[in-house]
Symmetry: C4
Subunit: 124 residues, 4 copies
């Protein structure tokens, strides 16, 4: 299986919705990152979070094994620092091998859920 | 009609929602792949499913005739193996001619439906 | 203003939802195409509709004036032939100058509306 | 941190939903632009709004500091002219350094919110 993807990705539209309704965890409001490593070599990934009015925070380091998918809730990024709720952020994702990055939000703030999903923007 | 598209596509955000509400099949929760072959030659397509904690499964083989669209529910991919419900997965789509791949989810888990749609990521 | 965009676009995920609820036209279920011509020359556009089990239909011809946006409901494409409801289709959009194409669906089939929006796939 | 992105972006699908329901500002219907400047130099950004039946309006000028995100509600673009509600528009975004642009809509017109999100189309 040949690698597919790019090494640098950006998602400007991050925002962990504060209120949730419905039973957990199915309907917990969340921003989620999907990282696909279709290649034969483990991917070392660094995520940096950028904000409107403060300095970038990171890197959040993680690994995606070869030929595996990894799903990250932004709520689970706690080292070096948890993300504040209800605050706009952007995610910059950098890997040592090509990966593919998709972003999804489930928002249950108003008692009915809404979904949003988009590929990240990728660069060389 | 000239071909349009790429030969390799990835969708990291797969997840067949488990619960459904509303009458079938209109409101059955589902992940759907749309494969467009705008060219004059039939496309032989192989889909591989990648997971978080198990080896990739596939290929699921199918054909898209020349100048035709094909719509695939992931629930209908059963050979070599049906996809587990409520489990994150990624889809890798590889064809012998250029195609265009879009991913859509209808999620009716909470009695009102939500939609998510995005083009796949494409590579050479 | 320099032109921005590509000359060929594809949207594989077309499907005009059949049922609608809510007052018209705000909540009428619909698939919509947005064509942006940011350049200084009028764009002659041809749309071809591709299906699963029948031959492609088209071209549907239209113009987008220089430095203008044009919004097309697929329901309004009637020459040479109206699109069938509740039937999967793909749209191929070809222009003589670069344009930018976005696809949006509003689906009000279940009494609450859902939205889906994505850029088209563009090729040379 | 190296810059990531492109200098010209287009979003054809603008439309500020007129009605809103639910408490403000969480559930106010809105079109939002996210501008990410991952580089080390401030970005000077010009937004031009294009319409179906009138001349383009702009530029709306703003800055995105180095290594910062900026979130713009289209409702807040008032100089040189506020955007009309319930009117289709496209946004052309041009910067002097590479940036990444994402578009999101929250639509609460029918008492339940719907979300739509997509990367902009980017060109050289």
């Amino acid at each position: 299986m040949n690698p597919l993807g790019r090494r640098r990705w950006a998602i400007p539209g991050g925002h962990i919705p504060f209120p949730s309704t419905g039973y957990e965890p199915t309907f917990t409001s969340r921003d989620v990152l999907r990282l696909l490593n279709a290649g034969n070599e483990a991917a070392e990934v660094e995520i940096t979070i950028l904000y409107e009015n403060r300095s970038p925070v990171g890197p959040y380091c993680l690994e995606v094994p070869a030929r595996r998918l990894r799903r990250i809730r932004f709520n689970d990024l706690i080292d070096p620092q948890a993300l504040p709720l209800d605050t706009p952020y952007a995610a910059l994702v950098e890997a040592n091998v090509p990966i593919v990055v998709q972003f999804t939000r489930m928002d249950t703030a108003d008692a009915r859920h809404a979904l949003l999903g988009t590929m990240g923007f990728s660069g060389p």
